[in-house]
């Protein structure tokens, strides 16, 4: 059984973000990078399935980006993936979710993956489109926002998180793609010996130009901090007048007195 997990390296969210010179995305200088949190759940679930299936399964990890993403790939190899594909693209951050999904689908289409894991969304762009688009392009069945996962006899049983705390269960035939949500599992710490052994696992480097054939469908026009809110309103006058003013504001601008 062939498994694929797609990961993205994102900035540590505690970083100070500054727009780049074009104002179209954040400036990457001096940021600390980590694996996207949702992808960690995807990796953990894929590794658990790899362990459940034993040596009849092969788990490949894929990431698109510049050289720095190799660190995130190596963490995944240390967590238990068998091998990796690094699609080298220094400009991955400028591509829209459609292009990213198309690149992954172009790589995966003739590889015969039975099951693909992705995060529910990335912590930086947050489009939540890549996973479902890959499934569509490959013609795979798909379930999103998984908080529970089981695999038995060719069938995936996925517990999904719905609005308002409600859960749903769907069953999928392979080939399938699932996107993973917080609460699905607790990702393991990679052990140090496995970090050292990951050095010996194969990372295949592919040029993005060989896989990318589509134009973007969306363009990020602007990246900026929210406008600073104006100061509060200071009411003046005697008490009767103040109360009238306050009631007026509460009626006009809030739902408190309707």
């Amino acid at each position: 059984m062939k498994l694929l997990v797609c990961i993205k390296q994102v900035p540590d969210l505690e970083s100070r973000f500054k727009p780049n010179t074009e104002g179209s995305w954040f400036n990457e200088a001096d940021l600390a990078w980590r694996m996207n949190e949702y992808d960690e759940y995807a990796v953990e679930q894929a590794v658990q399935l790899r362990e459940q299936l034993g040596d009849s399964a092969e788990l490949t990890v894929l990431s698109i980006g510049p050289d720095r993403v190799v660190e995130a790939i190596k963490k995944t190899l240390a967590m238990g993936a068998d091998n990796a594909v690094h699609i080298q693209d220094p400009a991955a951050a400028t591509k829209d979710p459609w292009q990213i999904a198309s690149i992954i689908a172009a790589y995966a289409k003739d590889k015969g993956f039975d099951l693909i894991f992705t995060g529910m969304q990335s912590q930086d762009r947050g489009s939540a489109q890549v996973g479902v688009t890959i499934a569509e392009l490959l013609g795979y069945s798909c379930a999103t926002t998984l908080v529970g996962f089981a695999f038995d006899n060719g069938t995936v049983t996925a517990k999904r998180e719905l609005e308002g705390g409600i859960k749903g269960v769907v069953k999928l035939k392979t080939p399938a793609l699932v996107t993973c949500q917080l609460g699905l599992n607790i990702p393991r710490y990679p052990t140090l010996p496995n970090i050292m052994k990951a050095k010996r696992k194969e990372i295949t480097a592919l040029a993005v130009a060989d896989l990318l054939t589509v134009e973007p469908l969306a363009r990020t026009a602007s990246f900026h901090s929210p406008a600073k809110k104006g100061g509060g309103i200071v009411l003046e006058g005697d008490v009767d007048n103040l109360v009238d003013q306050l009631i007026g504001i509460l009626k006009d601008k809030t739902a408190v007195l309707r």
């Binding site: 980590r34 190799v70 660190e71 190596k74 963490k75 240390a78 710490y189 990679p190 052990t191 140090l192 010996p193 496995n194 970090i195 050292m196 990951a198 050095k199």
Partner: protein, 385 residues
Amino acid sequence: MFLDLTEEQKLIQDTARDFAKGELEPVAAQLDQGCDRGLLLANLKKLAGLGFMGLNVKEQYGGTEAGVVAFSVAITEIARACASTAVTLSVNNMVCEVIQAVGNEEQKMKYIPKICSGEYPAAGFALTETGAGSDPSAMSTQATKDGDFYVLNGSKIFITSAPYAGVFVVWAVTDREAPKGKGISCFLVEAGTPGLIIGKEEHKMGQHASSTNELLFDNCRVPASAMMGKLNDGFRIAVAELTGGRIGIGSLALGVGLAAMDFSTRYATERVQFGQKISSFQALQWMVADGYTELEASRLLLMNAAWRKENGRGFAKEASMAKLYATESANRACYKAMQMLGGYGYTQDFPIERYTRDARITSIYEGTSEIQRLIISREILRNFS
């Protein structure tokens, strides 16, 4: 010149940082206050499972074989959250390395995997005595040959992890007539050996969760095969192995210093006095600048010593310089941090007083600052005479 960590070293640093943040930081104050030994041991077990007990130990003995730089950055990250856990790690690693350096194959296979795997929660380094601190060659614990056995008599003090250590490296005098330092040998003594008694626990100023005890030998018989290294070569072994341990303690001190400066600097950007953030006052800005500059210098000294050891270069002077500077600058960082927090820093509602207590011992144990200066100056003066 390349000053970046390798990908593996970065991943080890990240793992240590994530573990420290997730598992150690939330309980560090509780460990400091209540001496919850069970919790400390549970965390040590997890750290062993992740491979933190034998960072610079060969894979064949259950080690991680990640090198000395990885060891240093890992200890620093652990110490940022909990100095008591970090010192236990540092000593465990040091004991593994002593056995790996001078033990025979049987001794290595017997003990190192048990320390690395966590089967032994800890391991002990039993050198110091009441009359032999900075001057370990003045020790009086004796090992007397009796057929195929040695009989140990005497006592050790300040032994880290003694109540839960599975094995101790013990130094004892085997030739009373020999010149000072030439008649000491080194033994591996298992916990539970009749005649090995764990004595009273010290009530320390800091690093409370790590137990520090007296160790007594009352006709403690060990087989002659428990001797590690050559007869009467023990003092040389102790001196050589303490050098590596200094990188560990310097790295620990760096972690505590960084924790203190990070906490106080964040505080200074939030605390308002005289109508402005106190970080806008130059007095505090200079504390921030000086504190972090010294810690960065410590880090570079430690990386240099670790890199030299890892690459088979001489590193005694460099390890002493790193230990001296890192531990003293960590103490200064804690002093500044408390000054920045003012009265709050002196209370147990904030972690600065714990950092201050935890940092204080680092310029004392594993060679006082004065001993480090002695080693450094001796190495330098040798080149001038």
